[in-house]
Point group: C2
Chain length 437, copies 2
């Protein structure tokens, strides 16, 4: 049968509305999401997505070595596997983490279906409804969506151009505790933060770990971009200085995201709970994917490939920063990321980035409004621009269009006074979808 | 660095014991699990596992077509994908489900990381702590583990050799409702049930759907073994007669489990919630795996391969049933499955299968005690034997050893009176691990 000849049965009305779990109240399609469907048209320059550019991977070589793997180990790589993840990949991940100063034991690693699942499982084992998770200002939209789906209250900690502020962290912890709430962990992306592009200084990392330890708050360090340092060498991971940090890693940006392989490194007792949660969630993480990555690490120059990726992303970042310098009207500021995928723009006072998005799409440029990266309504003047996917020439065109939209907004504000936001429903972080990852 | 030269840091004591979410109380390592580590020794015949036997797959052909896929579509198949799953695979799944009489729309399918994740996401969107899920007696251990991890109360519905009893179902629903509890859904495996091997008759399927509909209880139909009919053609799926049944499908038994690809077919409103839950859990299901399966369905004789699998499993089932007939002492009974992987044995009165397991391992045969498949302590006299993985000769040896263990237990009972169970902690279903899948 085909799609078209099937009589569409009437299940559009939600008969189940009274049956859903309370946690589904935290799972809402954002108003922003609908616009992204439109934003996928080819004439639009998307500075919205977080997709890595993987076209430089040696596909022919990968094809050959994967075929060899299937021929020689097919019945193993296509079979059920360990709930914790394959031992040989866990050994190899130790070498990857060693590049950021982490010394660990393969027993304390759990492989996950991307680091998003790592975050889901960590939240699952620690958070009851009403618990508090602390996060940077701003923080990763996909993490906020996961926390909300577990009915967790997210409290943002003030952050600046060196990342999360340790003094503000201590104050925030005290305030939340005084309100009688239980803080389960701090969620942080210390390297090239998504969305801000900011990197925590080495000093701050130590101060943050010390402050959390003193308060009995776990630290969850999410580090998908760590090896994509575009200027200096990476700063050692928080986990390299503190065995009790829960560390989330990923192959999505250093190899390819389609395999959905990430990992959690956790203290031993926590790791046991994570494995039980993983088995209950999926029996075992994707086995074929794990062997595919293991095979890639063993048989290809993966470190050389990371250098290729760095050079490519450096060119794109520089193109974006130059274009912003040339194009943006006065009163606009932005971060200068030393790695990763994202630049965080602060618009002149009075502008509303979410209200601007439809006008951006109309001008053939897409971006993510800053409010997506807050659980509490902040971010109206902010925009995340990503330089990872479009080539440099397209980035320049995109920034020109974006700047033109901002200039027009400023003109409108001059004429009509303070900008009034378009009638669009307030954004709530939700499952981000690949477009926002 | 290597494992051995790493100083083992002291994180064995669980400092986090007060930090975990309440739901982790439902996630416990079962006493049975520890024995399975021992049971993996090669001299032991394992009749415990649920691993499909995939050695007959055409590995060379699969290797070639996967390599071609990577060469020609590598940047697509290794990239992030849709949170709902790839459209071309969803179209192909319609053809798979059509073999069991299901007519559906690809919009109403969500791809999952194995059908275990389908079950996890369905439970996530429907179940608050304290809600009730109804299940067969006995029911799949991995499902029970997932329900417990969501703090769901499982109520078993009496079942017989035609599957779940519709009259008992109506009575159970009334009793649970009268106790003031909310029933969210009935979880059922109508074809070749895991663990009982029993198949629901066509008549009963209709009665069960009607009873649930009348009571406002959703039906979740889990059908991993449906195409592995070993005698007659499969009975049409429950979903084929009722659009409001939530259907879980899997490629783990008809192709290979290592890709971790299953699916949920759900009414449209439910499907939307499932996609949001999927994005929050993993961003998107494994993309490479989806394309690998899509490629297999398109370029290989997958239906012919299912016939090969059927013939192979039929031989193993027949070997197991013959051996049971020859070997088992009087007072033992067992099911005669028309498909799937499992035979369900009922031991003579007075025996305890969990207490027998260490003696089984000692006699070099492993099995799963029946209590694993109940949330309420039933099943002491039952054992699940699987015929899927070992070849026929090994199955015969395994059944001989199993029968010998039973005979010795009976002798002991004759000598010492009623059997007293060994001091082993009561089993609770937990994440099953691949050994129990």
């Amino acid at each position: 049968m085909t799609v078209t000849d099937h009589p569409r049965y009437d299940t559009r009305l939600d008969r189940y509305v009274d049956s859903y779990a309370q946690r589904t109240n935290g799972m809402r399609v954002s108003a922003v999401r609908a616009l992204f469907a439109v934003a996928n048209r080819p004439e639009i320059v998307s500075l919205a997505g977080g997709m890595p550019n993987i076209k430089d991977l040696p596909l022919g070589d990968i094809a050959d070595s994967m075929a060899e793997m299937i021929r020689t180990r097919g019945t193993q790589v296509m079979q059920y596997g360990s709930g914790q993840g394959e031992p040989e990949l866990r050994e190899q991940i130790l070498d990857v983490m060693a590049l950021e100063g982490i010394v660990a034991h393969p027993d304390d690693l759990v492989i996950t279906a991307g680091s998003q699942q790592g975050l889901d499982l960590v939240t699952r084992i620690f958070c009851d409804p009403g618990d508090v998770v602390l996060a940077e200002s701003p923080s990763y939209v996909g993490a906020l969506g996961t926390f909300l789906s577990y009915q967790v209250e997210v409290v943002h900690v003030p952050s600046d151009d060196q990342g999360l502020d340790p003094v503000a962290l201590v104050e925030t912890i005290a305030r939340v505790k005084a309100a009688g709430k239980r803080i389960k962990f701090l969620y942080t992306i210390p390297n090239y933060n998504n969305p801000s592009g900011v990197t925590q200084s080495a000093r701050r990392r130590l101060d943050i770990v010390a402050a959390c330890r003193a308060a009995g708050v776990l630290v969850v360090e999410d580090n998908p971009y760590g090896l994509l340092a575009l200027d200096a060498e990476p700063i050692p991971a928080m986990r390299s200085a503190a065995d009790d940090v829960i560390y989330l890693g990923s192959f999505s940006k250093t190899f390819a995201p389609g395999f959905r392989v990430g990992w959690v490194l956790a203290p031993h007792a926590v790791r046991e709970k994570l494995v039980l949660a993983q088995e209950s969630a999926t029996l075992c993480p994707p086995v074929f994917s794990q062997f595919a990555i293991s095979n890639y690490l063993a048989n290809h120059d993966w470190k050389g490939q990371v250098v290729v990726f760095r050079d490519m992303y450096r060119g794109r970042r520089d193109a974006m920063l130059s274009a912003l310098e040339e194009e943006m009207p006065p009163g606009t500021s932005w971060t200068r990321p030393a790695g990763g995928f994202f630049v965080w723009v602060t618009l002149p006072e009075g502008l509303d980035s979410q209200a601007m998005l439809p006008r951006g799409v109309d001008a053939r440029v897409a971006f993510v409004p800053g409010s997506a990266f807050y659980a509490d309504g902040q971010g109206a003047r902010n925009v995340r621009l990503s330089f990872c996917f479009p080539p440099a020439e397209r980035i320049e065109v995109g920034v020109q269009r974006f700047a033109e939209v901002v200039r027009r907004e400023l003109d409108m504000m001059d004429i009509f006074g303070v900008h009034s936001p378009a009638p669009i429903e307030p954004h709530r972080p939700a499952g981000p979808g690949p477009d926002l990852s």
